[in-house]
Amino acid sequence: MSQALDNFIEQYPASRPFINWGVTAGSVFLCLLILPARLPGMELAGISPNWLLIWVVAWSVKRTLWQGAIAGLVLGLLQDAMTAPFPTHAISLAIVGAVTARLQKQRYVQEDFISVALIVFGMAVVAETIIAIQFSFEGGRSLLEIWTYHQFVALSSAILSSLWAPVVYFPLNRWWESMGQSDSI
């Protein structure tokens, strides 16, 4: 499969950016499609992994601050579409993207998988906290309820998302690496 794709790209080098962006957009669409599903083994007390957050982290790990923030903004808007526009997920995911891009992870951890799982764990907590802060300002729900629920959501979402992070990170990272390599050639 990948061999055939390589041959195709070699034959038509002009198609390469389109294929690259098509695969990237397709992976986002897959993440969106899996959001409403609750498959067995992906659920902890009704909570499922935050697939879009994993995608944003996978994207931002090796990119610049602005690329991370814009990817977060776009995916946040998409998550708004799937739930409700207020409070918006765009702020939380944009901050997650920017912070992930700024992290100098090679200074602390070497192994890619583990560091990505750790980053996803921390970022899931950050993202849920930003949503909870927005809910607190919005009113309508009582503060006690919001923050009690926040503890439960932040922890379960962080655990599940970090466990499932390699599923998104590994193929995407391989793809982007292969695209980057043919760039340098």
């Binding site: 969106l32 409403p36 814009i70 776009v74 808007l77 998409l78 579409a81 739930t83 526009p85 959501v153």
Partner: protein, 277 residues
Amino acid sequence: MFALRRWWDRYGIQATLTSVAIGTALLIRQTHGGVVLETYQWLTRPFLSKPAPPAQSSNPEMLELQERLIELESKNQRLEELLGFAQSAKAKGITAPVIGRSADHWWQQISLGRGAQDGVETGSVVRSPGGVVGRVTSVTARTSRVLLLSDPTSRVGVMISRSRAMGSMRGNLGNRAVIEFYEKNPDVRRGDVVTTSSLSGRFPSGLPVGRIESVDTAKSPAPEAVIELSAPIGALEWAIVYPKSPGEAESLPAPAPSDVPASPTPEESSTPSPTAP
């Protein structure tokens, strides 16, 4: 001009791609993720189970209760007709499979596999065997999104069917909800049956909601009670959608679900609508 040209040569593709990405995201957001939900519905269709046939109860006690219920309902309808209070014939429900759950952890929503093509409208009431489940907040051609009663933003006017004490109910996640009563000393006990009240603009009155689990009369500013919703909200597989019939909409004070009601009923004036742009 030259600087602009140089900027475009360097960042042109990036800028175009970024604006295309943001534009697409905004478009999908404006349409409430219609494309995604339609694709999701199309993909999950082969995996859906057939609706379970209504359980034929062989318990004689249950059968007797059912017969008494039918008898009482028909008697009630005749009395209402005599009073000139009769509502139009019951609307026929649309059976819809539950194809998805909420796409984040803060909203309590489900997606149904029936949409505008099958007659589902925004504001339709969704029930399941057991009681009311929620209300349709957005519709695409073949799917619809339902805000569950257990969501903290979903507020319903309810009534204790034994004592007619009224209050407003808000969701409290999971299978629980909290009622705030209007009176200072409501007549309410553990185990009382809760139904939607006639003050509720979004739901027809008299639909079963749940049972009182605990009462806290000392709570300030209003006494509160926790109720257990009778519909199995965590494990729904099928639901029945009742589109608002014209006759019903006339008898209700605030039929438009997305606007602030013209004559706000006390329990719903502060409810933010999650689908309002």
